[in-house]
């Protein structure tokens, strides 16, 4: 689960990580008072207006504006709120800005990169640090990997003081600021561990002209499987930032992602679902979605899946590809029949059922006298659905 920058900063503040003064705004009517409050607390006229969306690269898309006066701050609020922000990390359509974060403007001396995430290969958290901050860290990693420092942490022992010192040295922060940086790193690790975060990224971490170390931006990602023990973090979820079809699918225990093609897919298992998309493409079609019905598929979930797929007007044909293991094919067949009876189906449906109770399923479908195109193997199913989508 992702959260906004302003929420991440609220969380970091609780863990004693220094952040700049800021007030979040979800309605333009609150903008003037938010600006005034930030000005008062920071004892300065200048503020920064930052769009709050779940994607990085906001500055490049025009979503972050330095505003030296109150008038300009208000003008920027008006401009950014409600704009559709397109950044390298959003979809091509962009993301509508519904929240702003008004912050104090900081006099920056140096910018750094700091993140904690999981290294899957070694089963250990790793702190990633670079003196090249505020820029695309992927570019740094590619062009000059020697500028990226990695400190793995053995979870049996936790983070050691000397490891923190290694990171501070790699950042190149010295003197009194080094002690601040050490505290910040220690607290960030504590926050990362205690909240079941999967990524805690500060880019940029800055050293101000006054020698203060603080987090100027923050991205946090949390382990969905652990949200049950973090009610406070689960409450930070912003459904406005998510695709409504994907949210609805999740309520039915379906894993769904909208894509741009014309062949709808209903598959069990993430790997087979991706493979089904791949073979549709190999046959000259384009998948309209990724949809994994999961291990507990029943007639209800199949019906819900059909509804979500059919909502997309681009869909010209649907492929149901089920290899029953835990999922029983007869249950899927009953779900398909229920859905066809209830929904106004105007596109051809190719069905391929294999595995547990596949024979029973075939009988159920044959008896039901429904208009389906049957397929036995994966290659045949993909060819048939691509043909059908092309109107052949």
């Amino acid at each position: 689960m992702k959260i906004h920058e302003y929420q991440a900063k609220g969380l970091m503040k609780k863990y004693g990580i220094p952040v700049e003064i800021g007030v979040a705004v979800s309605d333009l009517s609150e903008a003037a008072s938010a600006i005034a409050k930030v000005q008062e607390l920071s004892k300065s006229q200048a503020v920064v207006v930052k769009a709050q969306i779940h994607a990085g690269g906001r500055g490049k898309g025009g979503g972050v504006k330095y505003s030296p006066t109150t008038e300009e701050a208000l003008e920027n609020c008006n401009k950014i709120m409600g704009m559709t922000l397109i950044t390298p990390q959003t979809t091509a359509e962009g993301q509508l800005v519904k929240k702003l974060f008004i912050t104090q403007a900081i006099d920056i001396d140096k910018e750094f990169y700091l993140a904690i995430t999981l290294d899957r290969a070694t089963n250990s958290p790793v702190i990633i640090a670079s003196a090249e901050g505020g820029v695309e860290i992927e570019e740094v990693a590619e062009k000059s990997p020697e500028k990226i420092f990695k400190q793995p942490i053995d979870i049996r022992f936790g983070l050691h003081g000397f490891q923190v010192a290694n990171v501070v040295k790699a950042l190149g922060i010295t003197g009194a600021s080094a002690r601040q940086a050490s505290r910040l790193i220690t607290n960030l690790y504590k926050c990362y561990e205690e909240t079941d975060a999967s990524i805690a990224e500060i880019n940029p971490l800055v050293l101000t002209k006054d020698g203060e170390v603080l987090a100027l931006d923050a991205k946090f990602n949390f382990d969905d499987s652990a949200l049950f023990r973090h009610k406070d973090i689960a409450e930070l979820r912003d459904l406005d930032e998510e695709d409504p079809d994907e949210v609805e699918a999740a309520q039915h225990h379906l894993s769904f992602v909208n894509l741009d093609g014309n062949v709808g897919c209903m598959v069990n298992g993430a790997g087979l679902a991706m493979a089904t998309m791949d073979i549709i493409k190999l046959k000259g079609g384009e998948p309209a979605n990724f949809l994994d019905v999961g291990g507990s598929a029943n007639p209800e979930t199949v019906k819900a899946a059909f509804k979500i797929i059919l909502r997309d007007p681009k869909v010209k044909a649907i492929l149901i590809n089920i290899f029953g293991g835990i999922v029983r094919c007869d249950r899927i067949a009953n779900g398909v029949i229920d859905a066809l009876a209830e929904l106004d189906l105007n596109v051809p449906v190719v069905v391929r059922l294999q595995g547990t109770n596949a024979e029973e399923a075939k009988e159920i479908l044959a008896k039901a006298d429904v208009d389906l195109i049957a397929a036995t193997d994966l290659d045949e199913a993909a060819s048939k659905v691509v043909n059908a989508a092309q109107g052949n």
Binding site: T117, L118, G355
Partner: protein
């Protein structure tokens, strides 16, 4: 022969009195007759599977009484990591965890603990293991496999079934089918299983199914080039999956590698692996090699 499990495995099921655990324990029992016991705290002293299989409160009791050496876990996500640790502490050598949605922190800790105990973990979030004709420790449908000489390693459950099914259609059976799981933290990786199949005299070819994300397939590719003499056929799922739908960059930085399907397939090919770009072509590709 086979790897990891065979007809002599003495298997217990943790969570055997649950709905899923009970159903699949029955299936595994019907297949290999080597489910010897179950564990559910508070249900010790009872029996399941038509009174043929005793239930214990703890793994330790099951190991002491039955000499169990394999445990199959169907415990809910909030308690599954602890079940893994209990099995390892009780001296179980091979632990297969089917449960999905286990918090990553819990698995990190459990995986480290299992290693300390000298045990092996398969999974979590996997379909488990199946040695055709001998033993089933997981949820793979038994009727899509048959005994033979091809080993399967797969991140994905249903693609494991698909691969086994395709092999059967071209007349090839399997030595052992292994679903390793798709979670960020898993107990046994592709490289370890490649070594086990390489050492197994009855495995003549290996099917390795991966997907986008992570760097395990890339490490496996170089390991195959340097250490594996048996032919390997691979498919990588996700060539059409949309890129860049993630937050932050830290994940990609860790491995410093390109985690796309195209990049993985290119490296596998370079390392001498036969890559089937069509997921329906896995069986044929193996048949072409084995003749």
């Amino acid at each position: 022969m086979s790897i990891l499990i065979n007809k002599d495995s003495r298997i217990i099921v943790q969570g055997i009195t649950g709905k899923e655990g009970g159903f699949h324990a029955q299936q595994c029992y019907d297949y290999g007759k080597n489910i010897v016991g179950g564990v559910t705290p508070g249900k010790g002293g009872s029996t399941v599977l038509e009174a043929k299989v005793p239930v214990f409160d703890t793994c330790k009791e099951a190991v002491d009484t039955l000499g169990a050496n394999v445990s199959l876990i169907f415990v809910p996500p909030a308690f599954a990591a602890d079940a893994v640790k209990e099995a390892a502490a009780a001296g179980i050598a091979l632990i297969v965890c089917i449960t999905e949605h286990i918090p990553v922190r819990d698995m990190q800790n459990a995986a480290a603990f299992v290693k300390e105990c000298g045990a092996r973990l398969i999974g979590p979030n996997c379909p488990g293991l199946l040695t055709p004709g001998e033993a089933k420790v997981g949820i793979m449908p038994a009727h899509v496999v048959k005994p033979g000489n091809v080993g399967i390693i797969s991140k994905s459950g249903t693609l494991t079934y698909e691969a086994a099914h395709q092999l059967c259609l071209v007349g090839l059976g399997q030595s052992t089918c292994c679903g390793i799981g798709g979670d960020p933290i898993i107990g046994t990786n592709m490289v370890e299983l490649l070594d086990l199949f390489q050492a197994d005299p009855d495995t003549d070819a290996i099917v390795m199914i991966g997907e986008i994300g992570g760097s395990m397939e890339i490490e496996a590719a170089y390991h195959i080039r340097d250490n594996i003499t048996k032919p390997v056929v691979s498919f990588i799922a996700g060539a059409t999956a949309p890129a860049g739908r993630r937050m932050g960059h830290a994940g990609a930085i860790v491995s410093g590698a390109d985690e796309s399907a195209a990049a993985k397939m290119a490296i596998l090919k370079k390392c001498g692996v036969v890559v089937s770009e069509n997921p329906a072509g896995i069986g044929e590709a193996v048949k072409t090699i084995l003749g």
